[in-house]
Symmetry: C2
Subunit: 357 residues, 2 copies
């Protein structure tokens, strides 16, 4: 660091993204991306857009994208703000609502970015442990006086809260804001977005990086009542007024409008997930019940780290988290059938090697 870095940031631990190896030799099952390309309609539109639209600034409010998203969810345009990935939506929300001493509660095992934002902004927090079975402790989240952020389905467990449980947390204390991070919710087919019409203390965040195959385009959004969205826009206007680039806006609109392609990709991923879960269970893995596009699994014969390292050696990347409660697990993103077949073959080989010793 330089001698100018503000003191409060010196001990920060930034977010560590999953490995993105440059050599591309690996089957990548480590960052929950889609194995399918984006909608062909989205790709088509890009060439035209690049030639015509790039010399001018992008639309600061990305209105066409807001319109497409709100129309898809039956919302008003004023109930959506598009962001440069859902991380940016989370960041704007943390900035808007945790700027003056407010606190935030989240599960001990969840998306690592919440802790990073908390530390960066110097915010108070209540870290609520998952229950023994790795489900979210609904009672504890009802009781906390702090604002709440929950990933639903949760990561890296994949376990969802029911919409009734989400509503209970939201309704139980209207003085708190509840942020539901639905990055993986399309693989479950449920969403809390309709509840924003009923509750002014619910903010839902989603991403186009998973179910819409656009991780590289950086598109996310926040949905909430229009006053909340005005806050998010206010932060956005202060921090990065042209946050969405022109091509990503076009890609996002085309992707959300191509509902047929979307359903097809999601269905394939869900089928592959359930098939892989069964195959893993059959060879002795404990697999948490996933509603997402990944599986969180452990095997009594092998630690999570060893599984990660052995698979990497075999050309398959999965993710391991060096965190006490979940160190026996590996998180496996769901690739296409062929990739998952290779993954299973390699996993079996590794397990056999372990048993021989």
């Amino acid at each position: 660091m330089s001698r100018f870095l503000s003191e409060k940031y010196i001990s920060l631990k930034p977010y560590v993204p999953g490995e993105q190896p440059g050599d591309k030799r690996y089957i990548k099952l480590n960052t929950n991306e889609s194995p399918y390309p984006p909608s062909p309609k989205a790709i088509q539109i890009v060439t035209q857009g690049a030639a015509e639209g790039l010399k001018l600034y992008s639309d600061p409010v990305a209105r066409k994208l807001r319109k497409a998203i709100s129309s898809y969810y039956g919302l008003d345009e004023s109930e959506v703000v598009a962001t440069n990935g859902s991380d940016e939506a989370l960041c704007f929300a943390f900035m808007a609502y945790l700027g003056s001493g407010e606190g935030i509660a989240f599960p001990d095992i969840s998306y690592g970015f919440y802790k990073v934002l908390r530390d960066f902004l110097g915010v108070r927090s209540e870290v609520i442990p998952l229950k023994e079975d790795f489900t979210i402790d609904v009672e504890a989240f009802c009781k906390t006086p702090y604002h709440v952020v929950i990933a639903n389905p949760n990561a890296p467990t994949g376990i969802p809260l029911s919409l009734e449980e989400v509503e209970r947390i939201v309704a139980t204390n209207p003085a708190r804001l509840v942020i539901i991070d639905e990055a993986y919710t399309d693989f479950w087919g449920k969403t809390s977005i309709p509840l924003i019409k009923k509750y002014d203390n619910l903010l839902v965040v989603q991403t186009f990086s998973k179910s819409r195959s656009l991780a590289g385009a950086r598109i996310g959004f926040a949905a909430g009542n229009r006053e909340l969205m005005r806050d998010i826009d206010r932060v956005r206007d202060c921090v990065n007024p042209y946050n969405i680039n022109t091509l990503s806006e076009m890609l996002g609109v085309a992707a959300i409008e191509d509902t047929e392609y979307f359903s097809e990709c999601v269905a394939k991923t869900v089928a592959e997930r359930d098939r892989t879960a069964k195959r893993l269970t059959d060879i002795g893995f404990e697999v948490l019940p996933s509603a997402a596009n990944f599986l969180f699994a452990r095997h009594k014969d092998i630690g999570g780290k060893q599984m990660y390292l052995s698979l990497k050696e075999e050309g398959v990347l999965v993710r391991h988290f060096d965190v006490e409660r979940i160190k026996d697990f590996a998180r496996i993103s769901i690739g296409n059938s062929e990739e998952m077949n290779v993954f299973m073959v390699k996993t079996l080989k590794i397990l056999e090697g372990v048993k021989k010793k």
Copy 2:
């Protein structure tokens, strides 16, 4: 705003972007974009990239783009950080270096975003008035104990500081960080970037939105010694780890590598700027000596606001700033020859109308 918005943000005035009319009827000379499309090589590369690269996350550090930029400027890769527009580079720098009570000095008439960031982050500042002739007060910037941010050439005046003057401000007090915002510097052909090798308290910010015709792709960067860049990366990793999308990275690399096309576009803009300045002077305008891709001009017979409104009625958008010292001026971005001819015809017509009254 919602009832949750943190108190300190309630009175914020966000940045107001220049008008971006959706109907496209206007000749747009109001936001300093390029009248020329991006490099054809950049456009070509996008179709391929969209099909192959979008389902995976973009490279968190946008290494190829950092490499292309650093190689263009003869820097090491570790001396550059790419950002989602140069606004983001400014925002990250303000966050990194003004987080613990530090102050920032900038000119009273300059890029409006500095004030927005200052207010958002709740930072102390010294606002240093331009001199009578609208040049930057170098002595005052040498004296201030605060960190410094200066746009060079300055906006909306277009007047540059010499590189010697910049160096004087940087060298005079090594305890302060000096940020030079070179959004328009390519139209002048000079840059302070080589000075980062000599001074560890100089951070230079640039954008691809003007001279490289990529406003819609949102590409900017910071250059400075590697310790400064580590700070910027630390903030980036905490706030939005995947800040650059895949297509923008490809576009940026192709654009900076196509030096021939770049030189051609810049030369055309500079020639058009000087031709327009002369024509405006000939009909009685006072035109500040611009080193940028815009002119800042006033005419004794008409106020800046009236000129803006009359031109808008004629289908030409320029920008007016409702700020006491410069309210008689209009800022005219340099379009292509045809656009500037229309602008001159309309301006003459408006002036004749004013004189008749």
